[in-house]
Each structure stands twice: as C-alpha cells, then as structure tokens.
C-alpha cells in the first residue's frame, strides 16, 4: 500500500524546494493538487536562460505525479475557489515570500477558518519571522547564508555555490516536518503552521562545524580531505575526466588498499602505520594513490576495492547513474513515459518499504489544468455551468 494514501495536499508551492516536498509526499501516496495559473506559470513551465536552457523542460521531476488545476489568485473569486480546495484538504503548502499568502487572503488564520485542523506548510528562504524574512533567495543563496557554501571548496579556493541539491534537501526536510505535524494532528486533533527556513536547513547540515566554531575551534574549507581519514579523496583514473573516490576508514582498509595497489611494502611503512601517521603524511599518500589510480579504470577499481573492504566508488556521471542496475533494482532510478511514449530516466522516491511496493512516480508532468474534471467536478461537486462561468470570468484561468 502507499502509506500516505488518503492525505490530500493543496499545493501552492513554486520553483524547487516546496514542490520537491510535495512531490516526495505524492510518491508516497498523498494526493497533491498543484494550484497554478496561466497568469503566473511555475518556473518550470518557462524558459530559463540563466541555466542555458531556452525552452521549458518536457518532463519536470518535481511536478510529476501531481494533479493540476488553474486558479487565478489575483481575483477574489479565485481566492474563494482556492479555499474550497483547502477546505477539502489536510495540508496547504506554499513557498511564496512571507506575507504573500496573508495578502492574498490565504494566510494560516484564513485557512483555519475554512478547515479548522489544516496543517499549513510555509517554505521560505529565511523563515516567516526575523529581520531578514523578506529576503528573496534561491538555492545558492541559502547555502551562502547557512554556512554550507563557505565550508565547501578547495582549501586554497573560494566558497562554492550549492545548487539544486540545496533546494531539494530543503524540500525533503520540509516533508519530514510536515509528516511530524500530521502525526501531531492525529494525536491532538489540532492543525499547525509549519515554518521551514531554507537557510536554516543549510546551517543544520553543518551543525557540527557551527558547534565547533561556537566552542572557539577553527573551521576551514578542506576540499575532499577528512580530519581523520587518509587517504581520503578523489583521485584521477584512466581516461578523460575520470575520477575515483576512496576513503580509508582504518588500518585494515589501509592494508587492503596497499594490496589492491600491489604495494604491500607500504602497509608496513612506519610513516603510514596508523591513522594519525597517515594524516601527517597525507600529501605523500595522495601522490602515491594518484600515481596508481591514474592507470586503473574507475569502476573496476572501485569494485576491487570494495571487495577488499575499502570504501570506494567511481565519481559517477549522470549517464552512468541513469544506467545503473543497482539503482534500477532499488527503484531509485525509474523509467517514465513522455506524452509521445518515449521512455526517459527519472529519480524515484529515496526509500523502499516492505509493504509499499507501489510507491513512486505514476504520472509525468500534468498539463496546466489537466485534472479539473476530477478536482472541481468530483472533489468540490461543482456543476458544469459554474465551471464555465468561472472560466469566462478568468477565475479558472
């Protein structure tokens, strides 16, 4: 069974972070009604030249599985229509700048008035409160504000912008918070407003280093290095732009690596006798490993290393991931059909359930307004005449 079957979400979210949250929940069985308008299309129905993309995506990962209805929220009748959907939902999710939902007449108090136990999720860059709450932001800005960007990078280089993974981890965190709120509602009968701040999610992912700084310890960008393990890094492999990631966890893994490199002499070299010695001689080790790795095929070497007990993996490109048998077996990569029937790879929900074999993506991106018969007709019980009138008034638009 799909565990969240029966939960309905009125989804006002846009861009990535909020939509990824509801996308995950939809794959687990929630019915997600994406509320959109021709007046204000979601970013992924539009071209985005800053990404070098001049046309809209044909399949949008974060919109898949959702139901689509059109509502023009600039009209009072549109807001009233949105409230009717909320009244029939368990959750209302949004990711506008703080204050926008209130101005639309769709703030938490407004929604409680139509559905007393509604759980409202707000995802924003800096949270619903505080002096920066009005700040506009996207994924790389969340990473910058939260310290994750500052703590990522080569030791002698600049900070690094964290891309879509930042948005999507915000979405996955929001899904956890939303599920917690639903459990609270089940136990208490009470809804709640859940406020997820993207920059705080970024900070939470380096909470250990923030704690170190709070104690007066020094933090720095350390590239691919590790404070305890050496060798630990991404090493050149045979071929153009091919790389092998490996991490030597302990003395046994070090001995195993020496075996795979056919350098048993190094295993007994006192310079590398224990973890602390290997950290002291990190640069020498990196150079030795690079010398060896440059002559081996990355995937074959990773397999050999794992067999010997060393944590290793090729630094995989996207085509390698899309074709991988392990990820396909797990449903982490699935095939979805385009409208013309061609199959393409998509990412599934990142968990397997022993009693939930049917979780995952069932449909691709909905066409704008594709599910209005079901949502307006079946859920809201709206007659044809009323729908036509709302269309004529550009409320359903």
């Amino acid at each position: 069974m799909r565990p969240l079957q029966g939960i309905r979400i009125a989804d006002f979210t846009v861009h990535n972070a909020g939509p990824f949250c509801t996308h995950l929940l939809s794959q687990l069985g929630a019915e997600v009604i994406k509320i959109e308008s021709a007046m204000r299309l979601d970013a992924f129905r539009k071209p985005h030249p800053v990404y070098g993309r001049e046309g809209p995506a044909t399949f949008d990962q974060v919109a898949s599985n959702k139901l689509s209805v059109r509502i023009n929220l600039k009209k009072a009748e549109g807001v009233a229509l949105a409230k009717r959907i909320v009244a029939a939902s368990d959750v209302a999710a949004e990711s506008f700048r703080p204050g926008v939902m209130d101005r639309l007449g769709l703030g938490y108090a407004d929604l409680c008035a139509v559905r007393e136990d509604i759980v409202m999720l707000s995802v924003s860059s800096s949270g619903q409160s505080g002096p920066d709450s009005h700040f506009a932001g996207y994924a790389p800005l969340f990473g910058a504000w939260g310290g994750l960007g500052e703590l990522t990078g080569y030791a002698d280089g600049p900070p690094v912008e964290i891309r879509h993974v930042m948005d999507h981890t915000v979405g996955m965190n929001a899904a956890v918070a939303l599920m917690a709120a639903l459990h609270r509602r089940r136990a208490s009968g009470q809804g709640v407003h859940v406020d997820v701040a993207a920059r705080e999610v970024a900070a939470s992912l380096v909470g250990d280093l923030l704690l170190l700084a709070a104690a007066g310890g020094a933090t720095a960008r350390i590239g691919n290095a590790h404070p305890r393990m050496a060798p630990h890094g991404v090493y050149p492999a045979a071929g153009e732009d091919r790389w092998l990631a490996l991490a030597v966890e302990d003395d046994a893994a070090w001995t195993a690596l020496c075996g795979v490199m056919k350098r048993p002499d190094l295993a007994s070299d006192p310079r590398f006798a224990d973890g602390a010695s290997r950290i002291r001689h990190r640069e020498t080790l990196d150079s030795m490993v690079s010398h060896w790795s440059a002559g081996v095929e990355a995937n074959a070497a990773a397999e050999q290393l794992q067999h010997a007990g060393v944590a290793a993996h090729a630094s995989w490109t996207t085509p390698e991931i899309a074709a991988d048998a392990h990820l396909r077996q797990r449903g982490a990569i699935v095939s979805v059909a385009e409208p013309d029937g061609t199959l393409r790879a998509a990412v599934g929900v990142p968990l397997r359930l022993s009693k939930g074999e049917d979780i995952g993506i069932l449909r691709g991106t909905p066409r704008l307004g594709e599910h209005e018969d079901y949502v307006y007709g079946e859920i809201l019980g709206m007659g044809r005449a009323e729908r036509l009138a709302l269309e004529a008034a550009e409320v359903i638009h």
Binding site: M1, F20, P227, S315, P319, S354
Partner: protein, 388 residues
C-alpha cells in the same frame, strides 16, 4: 517549545537507534528534536561517532574528548551501552524494541543475523515496529554490502562529479571534482530515513509494522534529481558547463557574495544597483537569452565593480532593489547573526566536558515557535546489566 515537550509534534513516539555512522544518527536526531524519545544503543567504548574529530575546545581552550560531530548528532538523545554479542545484551535490546515505535539501524548487512537484527527476525518479534535500515547503498541490491563514507555517497549519487561550479571551477579547471562540505551526503540518508519512518508510522494503523530500506546514495541522487531530468532533455551536465551564465560567487573587498537573477525584474534591479552603467543598459541585454550568451562579459563587469565594495553594503542595497544577493557567511557570522538570534536557531546547552555552548536546534518552527533540545549529548554509561 521549552517546557512543553508533550506538545512537541512527536511527543510520545519512542525510537531506538544503532548509529555507527552519521545517517542513522541524524535520522534519530531530527525526530528527537521534534519531541520523540530516542535511545541510542552503543557498544562498549561508545559509538564510533564519539571518536570522530574535530574535538571541541574546552572553556580554557584545551582540547576535550567531546567530538563536535557526536555532540551535534546526539544532543537530546539518551544512551544505553549494550553488548549485542551476548545473549543478555540482545535481550536487553529486545526489551527496548518492544516498547519502541521506530528502530534505526546501520549495522552492516552481513553482521545483522549474528546479532538477531535481520529483517525477518525483527518483523517476527516486533510486528508493529517500523524497522528502518540506514546504509550507504541500502539493504537490497547488488551493492547492499558496499562500504561508504560521505565522500563516497556524494560521488556515487552524482552531485560529487558536478561540483565545483562557477568561480572555483574557473580558477581550477583541471582539479578533481569536489564534495560538498561536512556530511551532506550521509545526512541526506538520515533525512530520507526520518521521512521513511514517519510515513510508515502513518500507515501503521492499517499496515502494521514494516521494514524501511534507506540508502544514502539513493537520497543523494534524489536531491540531485535535476541532472537526471536534464539528461532526459538531451543534455549531459558537467561541472564546467553547469555554471550560471552570470552571477554566482562574486569576490568583494571583504569576502564573497552570491548573486543570482532569474527574473527580468531582478536583472533590472541589478542594473540599478550597478549604477546603470553603459554596458548594462545596452538594449541588447534586455533579452535574457542575450544575457545568457554574454555571461562571461557581464561577470567581468560585475566582479570589477564588486571588488572595491563591501559585501554587506552590496547585499543591503541590492535586497532593497529586489536583487537576490547573499553574503557567504562564516560560522562565526551565523552564530552571531541577528536573524538566527531572532529565530532561536541556537540553544545554549551543556556539552559535557566542553561546557555550555550554542548548538543548532532545528530549521523548523511549529506554531510560530522554535523547537528546543532537552539535553546535550549523553555521557557514556557503563555496560547495562540485565538479569536473565
């Protein structure tokens, strides 16, 4: 919600966790912060996470034995030392599991049966338990036994190969690809585990207990989903080509800022922020497609302009004009940030030998209030004695 633990969202939920690594520990931590009671089951000598450097300096600057990572991950949880190699230890664990709703476990798959933690055995003994396996490559599939570390799952999940972008890859185009700092990949496994646990718990009234199989590789791949989407659109992303055409990491006189303008009005605001220079008011640049094409030229101008200005001045002025800009903040700046203080992001709490320290609580607010941690990390207790 200080003093209102019973109103925390997950009040009443009981969790047992075995956590040798970050992912399992982070799953438990996320749920503990929202009110669940978590018991961390540790071997004699403690979880390996207790030995993970860096260690926190004490109040006088001396190094303590308190791992920053363990202190962060285990804040708010209880601990019991249980030797699973002994039958009395296994019985003690079973007593805890009998009262638990959720069990997070990262014991390597090949070692589970020997300590009675195999999926079938757990399902038979605890039919209402949500048994969440948290491993680098999952409990099922060809690579189920493979070892991982944060670096490994980031590169097996795809994002590792796609970083760095922008300024860093411009400066060092031939270098090895780069992982995200900290334990980003393992933490994605933890977040997915928390989601899996709460979803399965939701279904428990109908479905009963079940096994949840989490792979940090899967979770890392999920948050990197757009690369797969782009592949389907016919484009293979690469860290060099993936850089934003303009904007990105901008060096300033006293640090770095991030600039990203996706909407026309944001570009218009940027032009005003720059003082509407001739190059920026070129009518051709009114087209976003042309701006994309001339990105390197635009960035040369922006960087030259920013190089003699202070980050905070640019950000303050730019945000007023609706330009998305952010300072690359250091940990110290975050710890002393007004926004963070207002939000109650940090809580001062006793970190064992390292004294009273500010620790990040949670990125979530419920009902307009910050959450709170009930304690710092647990001290390592002696071996739990169980009378047979």
């Amino acid at each position: 919600m200080p003093g209102q633990e019973d109103q925390a969202p997950l009040a009443g939920i009981r969790i047992v966790a075995i956590a040798q690594g970050v992912a399992s520990a982070y799953a438990a931590r996320l749920l503990a912060t929202m009110g669940a009671r978590v018991l961390l089951v540790e071997p004699a000598g403690g979880s390996p996470l207790r030995r993970e450097p860096p260690f926190l300096p004490g109040p006088s600057g001396e190094e303590t034995e308190v791992s920053a990572l363990f202190a962060y991950l285990a804040a708010g949880v209880d601990s019991a030392v249980i030797d699973l190699a002994s039958s009395s230890g296994r019985e003690a664990l079973d007593q805890h599991l009998a009262e638990a709703d959720i069990f997070f476990d990262d014991t390597p798959p090949g070692e589970r049966a020997a300590v009675a933690l195999d999926e079938a055995g757990i399902a038979a003994r605890f039919p209402r338990l949500l048994h969440v396996s948290v491993l680098p490559f999952g409990a099922q599939g060809d690579k189920a036994g493979w070892k991982g570390a944060d670096l490994i799952v980031q590169h097996a999940g795809g994002e590792g190969n796609l970083l760095p972008n922008g300024l860093a890859v411009e400066m060092f185009p031939g270098r090895a690809p780069l992982k995200i700092g900290g334990h980003f990949g393992e933490m994605q496994g933890g977040i997915a585990a928390a989601l899996g646990a709460l979803s399965a718990l939701w279904a428990r009234p109908e479905a009963g207990g079940q096994a949840v199989d989490i792979s940090s590789q899967d979770a890392m791949l999920a948050v990197g989903a757009f690369a797969i989407q782009r592949l389907g659109d016919g484009s293979v992303e690469h860290r060099v080509e993936r850089s934003f055409r303009y904007g990105g990491v901008i060096p300033c006189a006293d640090g770095h800022l991030e600039l990203l303008t996706l909407e026309q009005r944001q570009w218009d605001g940027l032009v005003r922020l720059l003082g509407s220079p001739d190059w920026a008011t070129d009518p051709a640049l009114a087209s976003s497609i042309e701006r994309g094409r001339r990105g390197p030229e635009i960035n040369r101008h922006i960087r030259e302009w920013a190089s003699v200005r202070r980050v905070d001045d640019i950000v303050a002025e730019g945000q007023k004009l609706g330009v998305p800009l952010a300072r690359y903040k250091s940990p110290a700046e975050i710890l002393s940030g007004e926004q963070e203080a207002h939000r109650g992001l940090f809580q001062s709490i006793d970190m064992g030998g390292a004294g009273l320290l500010d620790v990040l609580v949670s990125p979530f607010h419920f009902g307009g209030a910050a959450l709170s941690l009930r304690s710092g990390p647990p001290a390592l207790a002696g071996m739990l004695e169980v009378t047979p």
